[in-house]
Symmetry: C2
Subunit: 294 residues, 2 copies
């Protein structure tokens, strides 16, 4: 595995790959890799001849009051995991290389970024789009792979990719969970034992939403009330949002739901903000099993 | 010459070209081609194996009060000129193809777009960047060619290209002028005879600035006052701006100028707004000749 620390080195490697008619897959991450990331990397390995994994904690997508400083990091372990999972290149860029002092270009994304995390984190998705577009341009991948846990991020990137006429297949992969159901997240490291125990209410509340729909409940307000009530009874949980939206446009679904819907939530435990989501299937192929591979 | 009317058709052609290891040059235009455009197209012909010319009047770069509706058009003549100048592909996209109804992604550019035309035309350069980025992604050219008349546009696109890590050589070409010195522009068509006669004051005033510098004048305010006075004595000319800026950053140069500087101006004649510029050379290789090929 080649470790590239400069954009020039990465561009050179990828340009040579294209000249050799190799296809390329890209898995952008912020590091502190867990099984969720590794599932993306393994999928990337299958999808193309060359696999590039990037690790970069992008300051553009953090507000001043957010956890940029405390975002966990384990570069040596990450490198071992990437190599084991079959990466050809690990890209570890420096800030000055990606954002020189006179840097002045950003991507702005519209309605798909307005609700959910976009409402709680103003500018977040513009920062995500900007860095992902830069990575796309550096690597020029055929395939880019993201996790469904950051569901809105996935839809935002799909929208940007379509709008900017990028010839890249954007793939979303199922959420990977701990045995108790809590979605894997690098931020779980920052939870106290008690917070981690209480975080179980997130997947529980999503399972509750699914159970309600299976039983015939269609009123989104009623479903949301019960999901919120389940979370609110945990002492340390502070709800940021719990919403039911259209899985493609992310528009809020109010009243009765008539087709597949996404229940998405963000909840704070102390300074740690966790997100999770689940697709509520109403289409006739609906199953009660894992339905994250939308 | 192939005429592509859909993004898919263009993408397919360019992808095949890349597979065949052909280099590609791109000349984006808004049509109603004149010798200025043709000089770009001929340069594009020299610079790569395949040459794509696009003609699209991009609504995103026009404000509601601007001349989108009256922008001149001559598609049949343009096609003949493109073919004669050696284009392999003429791209004539439809609005719905480039901007579907749920389109929501734009590029925002910073300080390089703040002054000059960016100050008079809010949002203009974000619109330019967005459509140029889309064309860049569709064509994936090795070389893209723009004219120096739209000097700020050229610097904006260079900035975007660098910031977004696009592996594209952006080339600026000298301004092409009518025999009397007026810069060629598709908008000249919309001038009355009297306006066209008065428009001569633009190149005259730039020549005056150069003459002043050659004589040793260094005070930017003094140069600007004389340039403005020369234009202001024409009855139909209404100055939008006349400015002296750094040729790279486009920051305003006040006080004495110490190195190469750009004098740039925009002047309205009735509803037609014309722009022009000239580099004032102070470096030791300075010449009094045509100095537009910066």
């Amino acid at each position: 595995m080649l470790t590239c620390r400069s954009t020039r080195e990465l561009q050179r490697f990828c340009a040579q790959g294209r000249l050799d008619r190799q296809t390329i897959s890209l898995v952008p991450t912020m590091g502190y890799l867990h099984e969720g990331h590794l599932s993306l990397i393994r999928e990337g390995r299958k999808k193309a001849d060359l696999l590039v994994v990037s690790i970069y904690v992008n300051p553009l997508q953090f507000s001043p009051n957010e956890d940029l400083e405390s975002y966990p990091s384990s570069p040596e372990r990450d490198a071992v995991l990437c190599e084991e999972a079959g990466a050809d290149v690990l890209f570890l860029p420096g800030h000055e290389d990606l954002y020189p002092t006179d840097y002045q270009t950003t991507v702005s994304i519209g309605t798909v970024a307005d609700g959910l995390c976009g409402a709680s984190r103003p500018g977040h998705f513009n920062g995500v789009c900007t860095v992902v577009l830069k990575l796309f341009n550096l690597v020029q991948p055929n395939v880019a792979i993201f996790g469904n846990k950051d569901y809105q991020q996935l839809q935002v990137i799909r929208t940007m990719t379509r709008d900017l006429n990028l010839d890249i297949a954007v793939i979303g992969m199922p959420i990977i969970r701990d045995p108790d159901g809590v979605a894997l997240s690098s931020r779980n490291k920052n939870l106290s034992d008690r917070e981690r125990t209480e975080a179980l209410c997130l997947p529980e509340s999503l399972a509750l939403a699914e159970k309600l729909v299976l039983r015939g409940e269609r009123d989104s307000a009623s479903i949301l009330n019960q999901v919120r009530a389940h979370i609110a009874c945990r002492e340390l949980a502070e709800i940021d949002y719990v919403t039911i939206v259209d899985p493609n446009t992310l528009e809020i679904l109010s009243g009765n739901i008539h087709s597949d819907a996404l229940v998405a939530l963000a909840v704070r435990f102390g300074t740690t903000r966790l997100i999770d989501n689940r697709v509520l299937r109403l289409s006739h192929e609906s199953t009660a099993g894992d339905n994250q591979g939308l």
